[in-house]
């Protein structure tokens, strides 16, 4: 259907772009072994020294632990609220349905600085709450809800409501129906949503810088603050290399969930 020449040039362009996409990531991996701590190219020699130093770095460890806790809390909150929102929108057909759908997309459609500033202003100026880990969690949960909501809603649209009606007809109450019918149907969609939420929250820096107190350092903030310090640069590079390797894990998990992967991982940012 497409001419031979066109197919061939498409293949070539794809190959070139993919190579360009992976070169910077490969550079990070390679530089983590670079003996030169200003990352001269080509590397004068290779060493494992920086990996050892980074492993010992207390700051990086603390920041990693903070990030994991924030991401877990934000994901849990987003799973509950995102699922409830999707279920609510599905049952009722009130007039503002489209408005609410748009509203839920808004946190990802508006730039991060706006979301971040809005939350900081809301917490500090309006409500008078001091920034803490919890303010980060609430801000993260807001855009994580979108991913959960999208996944769950897509699943609902595909499955329809017949199974639940059948379950109720057979005498199951609402809660029993949710536990035995709805939840199992949603399980893989929820997993994909949770995976995405965790990744988003773990990685997020823009909103975080606005909602974190100076004591709370998530891993991205730690990287960002140490990025410009010459003697910390090799350690930052090792942490970056570890994150590149880690990014393969969610992809692997998503492939295991395979059905969920195509619908779940493309939907949202």
């Amino acid at each position: 259907m497409l001419s031979h020449g066109l197919r061939r040039s498409l293949t070539a362009v794809t190959a070139v772009v993919l190579v360009i996409v992976y070169i910077p990531l490969a550079l990070v991996l390679l530089n983590s072994f670079n003996t030169d701590n200003t990352f001269g190219w080509p590397p004068p020699g290779l060493t494992l020294h920086w990996w050892h130093v980074a492993w010992e770095s207390q700051g990086a460890r603390d920041a990693l632990w903070t990030s994991v806790r924030v991401a877990l809390a934000a994901t849990a909150l987003a799973l509950v609220l995102g699922t409830l929102a999707a279920m609510g929108l599905r049952r009722t057909r009130f007039f503002g349905r489209n408005v609410v759908s748009l509203l839920i997309i808004l946190p990802i459609a508006l730039p991060g600085v706006v979301t971040g500033l809005a939350f900081q202003n809301g917490f500090r100026t309006i409500l008078g709450i001091d920034l803490s880990l919890w303010t980060i969690v609430i801000a993260h949960a807001t855009f994580c809800i979108v991913t959960v909501f999208n996944n769950v809603q897509a699943r609902f649209q595909r499955l329809g409501g017949n199974f639940e009606q059948a379950s109720m007809d057979l005498g199951a109450g609402r809660w029993t129906t949710f536990r035995l019918v709805t939840f199992p149907m949603l399980r893989s969609a929820l997993l994909a949503g949770a995976l995405l939420s965790f990744g988003l929250s773990f990685d997020e820096i823009v909103v975080t810088t606005f909602t974190a107190s100076p004591q709370d350092q998530t891993l991205p903030i730690w990287i960002f603050q140490n990025l410009f310090r010459p003697n910390q640069a090799p350690i930052v590079n090792v942490v970056a290399a570890v994150l590149v390797i880690f990014s393969a894990i969610p992809i692997y998990l998503a492939q295991r969930l395979s059905g969920a992967s195509t619908e779940g991982l493309t939907g949202a940012r």
């Binding site: 040039s9 910077p24 990070v28 609220l81 807001t142 990744g199």
Partner: protein
Amino acid sequence: MLWLGVAYLGALAALLITSLWMQNDFTGNIERVWTTENFQTLFTVDVYRTITLRTIGIAALVTLIDAVIAFPIALYMAKVASPRAQRLLVIAVLMPLWASYLVKAYAWRGMFSSNGPIAWVVEPFGLHSPGYGLFATTVTLAYLWLPYMILPVFAGLERVPDSLFEASADLGAGSWMTLRRVVLPMAFPAFVAGSIFTFSLTMGDYIAVKIVGGTTQMLGNVVYDNQGAANNLPFAAAVATIPIVVMLGYLAAARRTGALEQL
């Protein structure tokens, strides 16, 4: 149940209100007095106009670059690759998406550094690395948001049935003609859907600019610096209304093409 949605809208509304308050220069406290002073500063001081135009310009350029690069790849993935290759390609495109945003920006800092690989490649030709600045910022941002464009366009192209290609060829159109007259118009909403991400993400970025932009400033930097170092939250709020207005306009325009259903 929708309390977070309400909380978010509430926070946005509060932000708009704050932008109309003023700041006491001596105490640094926010005084709840109504004033349009912040907006007057914003519109009359040249620097802010320049930065606004620059930000919108970079956002448009990044979106354009991503669209141009994404189209052939998405087309290859959707219509040329075998199912197995297609799966692998989706993974290959998704994988950088999961690699940390910061790590990718950082990687480009390494690429553009004065003794980095780009300098090494162009040096034999008597050139230097372009260094940190507008160019590096645009490249890095285009790199960062590329997957957000590829994935919706791929999904959009996949929905174009094969039979249309054949019909177009039967009616005498060459491959190029088919692409231009049949495929592109059908995939247009998908491009718009992708551009919402590339445009919005660029509008709000200040981290990548700080890492590879040298002294270049974008709107995000102004917002961040005013809430942090200068501690002038009302003015930061006023600046933040610019991306809100631009994005709302963009979303309204995108709605008309039916792109929002493709998100």
